[in-house]
């Protein structure tokens, strides 16, 4: 199993722990990630708001880079906004030849060409449909019994493209969470918006969105996310959100690969758990109280570097 890996800008900066934990988890699950050295930004939401053509050319450049290698593989994308932008190019060019031609005239400046040969896929899609809960369960070394987890899907992994889950009532994370031994916090908010980029341009509005989510998640030990924007909004503004709500809404928020990595026995350093803003002491204690118990068939296997992602 191998995929081109498109981390996107956030995963190099504010979401380093998402990058680290995704690579570590994929390594542990025996998935090979192919790095593309020269990747560039997908344009995020600024592209669409500024120039339609640029918002198509920027993601297409990355797909063209992957095509150039001649390797046949899908592209794994952990960031939902990047995923949507790359997916959009694939979709829009499928119905507009003139657009494909214009994109390629722009990419021609760098000697690149985009031929719709690569399928962009969200990390959650690959975890849920390609790898599957069963394979994950077989690798669990620390069953997260008694842990209540609120799965948060956000928007752009689910909508508008209905690729791997129900776009309004998603469930794809549930078997994965249960495979870890944890239990799913039923909250019905998994597909609601976190405010996304409004946190920068219309802060009070985004603060209310996050407040709604954090209060609905009460009773859970943590929220898990699959998007750097969702994570940033949910974990970095909890003080402000709590002040504006008039109550303490603090709650641990982890990336899904971090939680899965904990259950698979990966180290805190590999998962960069020290970089989360909201990884509460009580959750840390709860997790460290669970003993690391290798399953019988993994005893004797080489430990240590076996989960390292290939370069």
């Amino acid at each position: 199993m191998k995929y081109f890996y498109y981390p996107g800008c956030s995963l190099e900066g504010t979401a380093q722990e998402y990058d680290a934990s995704t690579r570590a988890l994929m390594g542990a699950l025996g998935v090979e990630l192919l790095d593309m050295e020269d990747w560039t930004c997908c344009g995020a939401s600024a592209g669409e708001a500024t120039s339609y053509l640029l918002s198509m050319v920027l993601p297409a450049r990355n797909l063209a880079l992957a095509e150039k290698t001649g390797i046949e593989a899908d592209m794994l994308i952990p960031c939902s906004a990047c995923y949507l932008n790359l997916k959009k190019v694939d979709d829009h060019t499928g119905r507009d030849d003139r657009l494909l031609d214009r994109i390629n005239r722009a990419l021609g400046e760098e000697g690149l060409a985009y031929n719709k040969g690569i399928r962009p896929r969200h990390l959650l899609d690959i975890l849920a449909t390609e790898i599957g809960a069963e394979r994950v369960a077989g690798k669990v070394e620390r069953r997260l019994n008694g842990l209540r987890v609120a799965p948060y899907y956000g928007c752009q992994a689910l909508r508008p493209y209905e690729e791997f889950d129900d776009p309004q009532f998603p469930t794809s994370m549930e078997p994965l969470i249960e495979a870890l031994g944890a239990e799913v916090h039923p909250w019905g908010m998994g597909a609601k918006c976190c405010g996304a980029g409004l946190m920068t341009t219309k802060k009070p509005v985004a603060i209310s969105r996050v407040g709604e989510l954090l209060s609905a998640a009460r009773g859970a030990d943590c929220i898990v996310t699959v998007c750097p924007m969702c994570q940033m909004n949910l974990d970095s503004f909890q003080g402000k959100v709590s002040r504006s709500a008039g109550e303490d809404l603090g709650l641990s928020v982890l990336y899904l690969p971090q939680l899965m990595g904990i259950a698979l026995g990966l180290s805190e350093q590999d998962l960069k758990l020290n970089l989360n803003f909201a990884y509460a002491k009580n959750l840390q204690q709860k997790i460290s109280a669970i003993p690391l118990a290798p399953k019988p068939h993994t005893v004797g296997l080489k430990q240590g570097n076996s989960h390292q992602a290939p370069a």
């Binding site: 800008c9 900066g13 504010t14 979401a15 020269d38 990747w39 560039t40 930004c41 344009g43 995020a44 939401s45 600024a46 669409e48 708001a49 500024t50 120039s51 339609y52 053509l53 640029l54 050319v57 450049r61 979709d91 829009h92 060019t93 119905r95 507009d96 003139r98 657009l99 214009r102 005239r105 722009a106 990419l107 400046e109 760098e110 928007c155 752009q156 909508r159 508008p160 776009p167 309004q168 609601k192 918006c193 405010g195 996304a196 980029g197 409004l198 920068t200 341009t201 219309k202 802060k203 009070p204 509005v205 209310s208 969105r209 970095s236 503004f237 003080g239 020290n274 970089l275 803003f277």
Partner: protein, 186 residues
């Protein structure tokens, strides 16, 4: 799949192209009922589409509604007419700038700073981008509201100060230039 490719770039009048996109709106209000941010908007999404159908440019571009769209795609998913409403919100942001309706300085300058950063470096350098954004605002209040987060991010080593490459050619200059050229010929 409901999203349609952009026709605006090909049509002579982008405002007309947008009107075509929402022409079939029957004012049912499902978009408004599905919108996470409707309560913060001055006009509901349903009202906005009516304004677009009627070509009420002043009302449209004086409204903050489309700047409050966080692209969650709920309206697009649920629209019984299958209209690409989230894309239409995006198109309005572009049109507002093209029309010189620059009331939403924060949003416009943020997007501009973002894309300029991409042109320079290929990838976002958060610190560099936010600094340029704040400078472009010429308003000390906004940066202050982001200081706590900036400090937290620096402490965690998630953002770092990098010397800006002021005099180097931008990583994506050629592609940006070509895109502008292609847009001008359409």
């Amino acid at each position: 799949m409901k999203e349609t490719a952009e026709h605006g770039a090909h049509a002579p009048d982008p405002m007309l192209a947008l009107r075509e996109k929402v022409e079939a709106c029957m004012q049912c209000g499902t978009c408004t009922g599905s919108c996470a941010n409707a309560s913060a908007m001055d006009h509901t999404p349903r009202q906005l589409w009516r304004m677009v159908q009627l070509g009420l440019k002043d009302e449209i571009f004086n409204s903050k509604t489309f700047w409050l769209c966080s692209s969650c795609y709920y309206c697009t998913l649920r629209c019984p007419r299958g209209l690409p409403l989230t894309e239409a919100m995006g198109a309005l942001k572009r049109l507002a700038v093209a029309e010189g309706r620059l009331h939403e300085k924060k949003s416009i300058r943020f997007y501009r700073a973002f894309l300029d950063n991409v042109r320079r470096y290929g990838r976002i350098r958060e610190m560099d981008m936010m600094t340029r954004y704040f400078i472009s605002l010429k308003n000390p209040i906004t940066p202050v509201s982001f200081t706590p987060l900036g400090v937290k991010l620096m402490v965690k080593g998630k953002i770092s100060v990098q010397m800006p490459d002021l005099f180097k050619a931008g990583k994506l200059d050629a592609i940006y230039r070509k895109v502008r050229e292609l847009e001008a010929e359409a």
